[in-house]
């Protein structure tokens, strides 16, 4: 139900880096944890946004690699982006409710 969405979102939000293949949902936040990668957090954040990961975007994990289920291919609105799960940990999304 749309009216109850906001608070539910915040609680049920999960990092896309941990989501299984086939996960569908909506991005709630891009929050890069400090010092997970070599690049500064704002740089990772900028790159994710440049590839279309912004709050409100619809995401779906389409494919994953053979080793360590990494990297993943994510449908972001109407484009497909490949990235590693490590970077995808910065993308928080809430799963769509089953129709």
């Amino acid at each position: 139900m749309p009216e109850s969405r906001q608070p539910v979102n915040v609680r049920s939000s999960q990092p896309l880096g941990q989501a299984p293949c086939g996960f569908r949902g909506r991005v709630d936040a891009i929050e890069v944890p400090v010092a997970t990668t070599g690049l500064p957090a704002w740089e990772i954040e900028s790159r994710l946004i440049e590839l279309g990961f912004v709050e409100g975007a619809h995401v779906e994990i389409l494919h994953e690699g053979a080793f360590g289920r990494d990297p993943i291919a994510v449908r972001v609105n109407h484009a497909t982006i490949a990235l590693r799960r490590r970077e995808a940990m910065a993308i928080f999304a809430t799963a769509d409710r089953p129709a």
């Binding site: 704002w42 990772i44 279309g52 494919h63």
Partner: protein
Amino acid sequence: MSSATASAWHLALVGTPNSGKTALFNALTGSRQKVANYPGVTVERKAGLLQTPAGRSVNLIDLPGTYSLRGRSPDEEITRDVVLGRVASESTPDLLLCVADATNLRLSLRLVIELKRVGRPLVLVLNMFDIAQRRGVRIDLDRLSAELGIPVVTAVAVRRDGTQQLLGRMDEIADSRLGAPGENTWQPPTPADLRAAQREADRIIAVAVSMPAKPDTLTTRADAVLLHPVAGLIILLALLFVMFQAVFSWAQPLMELISSGFAALGLAAHDLLPPGLLQSFIQNGVISGVGSVLVFLPQILILFLFILLLEDLGYMARAAFLMDRIMGSAGLHGRAFIPLLSSFACAIPGIMATRVIDNRRDRLTTILVAPLMTCSARIPVYTLIISAFIPAQHIWGFVSLQGLVMFGLYAAGIASALGVSFLAKHFLWQEHETPPFMLELPDYKLPRPRAIAMGLYTRAKMFLHRAGTTIFSMMVLIWFLASFPRPPEGATDPAINYSLAAMIGHALEPVLAPVGFNWQINVALIPGMAAREVAVAALGTVYAIEGGKEAAEQIGQALANKWSLATALAVLVWYIFAPQCASTLAVIRRETGSWKWMAVTFGYMLALAYAASFITFHVAVALGAG
């Protein structure tokens, strides 16, 4: 307002990767284009000329693809600096053409919003408009133009008349107030700026574009197989196997044709000219020098045919996706896979193919290790020595010992390449950050023959022109070393024994004796610099055996009599690592744009070769093979 008509008008193409920008550039300029480098950097500068319907001459430059003007790589910095008019050698563009894939506008619109702040006249070009219409993407052009505040033009780069509307609009814009520059308020965008711009882009898409309910079903279905964790890898390997085979075997007849053609030409020159220096220079220096470069052309063209087809199809990004984890464990980028595989045929096309790797650091690592892959030029040397020294027997009844040694040489090359890239990742690049792997996987598109032909033509021209000049001059130098000074009157030994090459060979004796090399080997190493397989012929010359290909067996016998097994093994191991190819070094110098990386490659390979041969020789001697 139309004061620009007097001199040429400067236009720049900007766009995200996969926007079809280069296809549009090719369609607009045709063959009237020039590829060079920007001064001081190894970024490719593509410029061309065209004429608008009103007769205005236009200088068009194709800027490297980028998602924003933040300038994260040397390529992207060039795009930023040209757009902002900061490059001294470039005119500030009079008009920016922002190219977007009409089927996938989201990221391009964010770039347009950022570009507007630069204040240069700007037009959005919706490329691949035909595909968008076929897929059911509905774009309200007037609304889009009104929301963005800039003219919007459609184009189909691959169709002959697909750029008419764009050309027509260029004139209109040049004559109107739209062609007047405004104020530049661009600042490097913060994450908040990027976020706001993307939201604005999404808002505009919501009002001006209606996307089909279902995504491109063909791509979805193809990816279900091609990106499948198991099937995808198997298909990739099969594809690479075909590619490897093609580079190896399809090129063979052509390569033989070229080399026998040049041999015949050399003989003709030999017969035509009086014996002496000029004859030797023309035959051995000029003709065989040019021939040894041209002979690589078929392999390069076949390899690039595959690469361009796969790139155009949209598969290359997927190959990188599939290989990322495997290559990543050795410190290599997923995209390094194809260049490294090509290096089994020849390191030259392999190194040229590293252009698909956009990160400079990853590209350099790949270039550094590419020559360690066993190229086809090493095969004659390997087979000669193996057949002379390794008994033709089977172990366990079915494994050929000779084949096993050959396999071992290949495996040693691969293992050392992985080792070197691992070390480079941990030591050479220590102070640099690991770049994250983030890549758009574009929808599949049918490759366009015209674009492929254009790409092949450009590669061939580039290889022949620029590598040709460097490689050729090295060939002449090697000829000089092997020919001067001339043998004295009545000399009985082969001429090369009196040359500078022989002097160097003797001078190197104290250095190379510890690895088991005699001076004859040292002498053969010098013409072997031209191309590794030449070393075989040179050994024949030094041991005064009448030449020709059929002499290979005799050379083998002579070597078996004169070398110890330990020496033979040391030579084999030397050839795994030794930077024994002037052409490869010349290409490294050209592709990296610096002597430094050529020297680094030469130095580390020489050190590896020396150390490995030293160990091999002494272990073999200790085991009684001396």
